[in-house]
Assembly symmetry: C2
Homo-oligomer: 207 residues x 2
């Protein structure tokens, strides 16, 4: 069996296992042994691919961000009319709100890491500051294009609108995860937000 093995793939496999454990039992339940069991390998192998737990945890975070990136990029590419800002923002909302189990797991683990980062600043640097900033810039661009096209009001600050969109989605996402709201209700709120953004005077669907 000891033939040559793809380290990157093994590490990804382990990181995935960590994310599954964290999503199921919480990040506090992530232990070397639990991750090893979830990955179907021995404790020692986890140690073999990640010298220390800190490295493992950190790598899993980067892995998570990378995955999120790919999901987002894939969804953007699968848009039939990627030109319209509305479709783009709808896609963002669909991606951001924890509807299916996968996105629920992702957002749960991500938020867990965010809480960790609040008291461990060096963990935060890249993923929690640069990541969201990049997303905000993307959204800002989309909004700016829509504004130039006259689709959203000229007096709006597209940069703040991007922040508002991102922060609101994080907020409702959290409320879904703690069980205060259903994913459907969250989507309703986000669609309402988009409707207001596009100055849609239609208040609500008829009862």
């Amino acid at each position: 069996m000891p033939k040559r093995v793809d380290h990157a793939q093994r590490r990804a496999h382990i990181a995935d296992a960590l994310v599954r454990v964290a999503a199921r039992d919480g990040l506090h339940a992530v232990t070397m042994r639990a991750v090893a069991a979830e990955a179907g390998m021995s404790l020692n192998l986890v140690q073999y691919y990640f010298d220390t737990k800190a490295q493992l945890v950190h790598s899993a975070l980067l892995h998570l961000e990378h995955q999120s990136h790919e999901r987002w990029a894939a969804r953007l590419e699968s848009l039939n009319d990627p030109e319209t800002a509305r479709a783009c923002l709808e896609a963002f909302v669909a991606e951001a709100v924890p509807t299916d189990e996968a996105s629920r797991a992702f957002r749960l683990v991500w938020t867990s890491y965010a809480v960790l980062a609040m008291t461990d600043p060096e963990l935060a640097e890249q993923p929690f500051i640069e990541g969201p900033n990049r997303l905000e810039r993307q959204l800002t661009e989309v909004l700016a294009r829509a504004q130039k096209a006259g689709r959203i009001a000229a007096h709006l600050d597209v940069s703040i609108e991007a922040t508002r969109l991102l922060s609101l989605s994080h907020g409702v996402g959290t409320s879904v995860l703690v069980g205060q709201r259903s994913a459907t209700q969250a989507l309703e709120v986000m669609h309402y937000h988009l409707a207001r953004l596009f100055s849609d005077p239609t208040p609500l669907e008829a009862p």
Copy 2:
């Protein structure tokens, strides 16, 4: 020294210590010993007032919610013109965004608990569902009054607006805590949101 002692006060003292530890080092760093040290008492006393750690953690959460309640009520009462919805919502924003150290600590610990609750549903019940729901109802009432008074547009859904306010404040609050944004920027976003709510056509302050 063993004279009669106010248990409720002792428990509150310990809960405060727990919150301080959690705010400084994270909820994962909260141990019986750490709390005891922070509270300036022996490990055994903490055990004496809270039989088990689960009880301690749960009690501290209730304590935190109670404190938050009182802070919010106090701020509402200190309003000079509590009738106007705008003032009320400004107060909400000022309370919700982690500006000073106290509110930063509160929001950090609260969010930590929220993450715990995501994988421990019985922890969530009262504080994370009923708490925010109550706040949302309050905000909804305020908005409904403002709407009847003609201060905000008639076609808005005051209930969703309340949700939007709360969720947005949580979202930007989190972004402040992870260091992505300053509290000032967060306040800017919230004020922008209020301005849009009140259909204030003024886009931004002049540069």
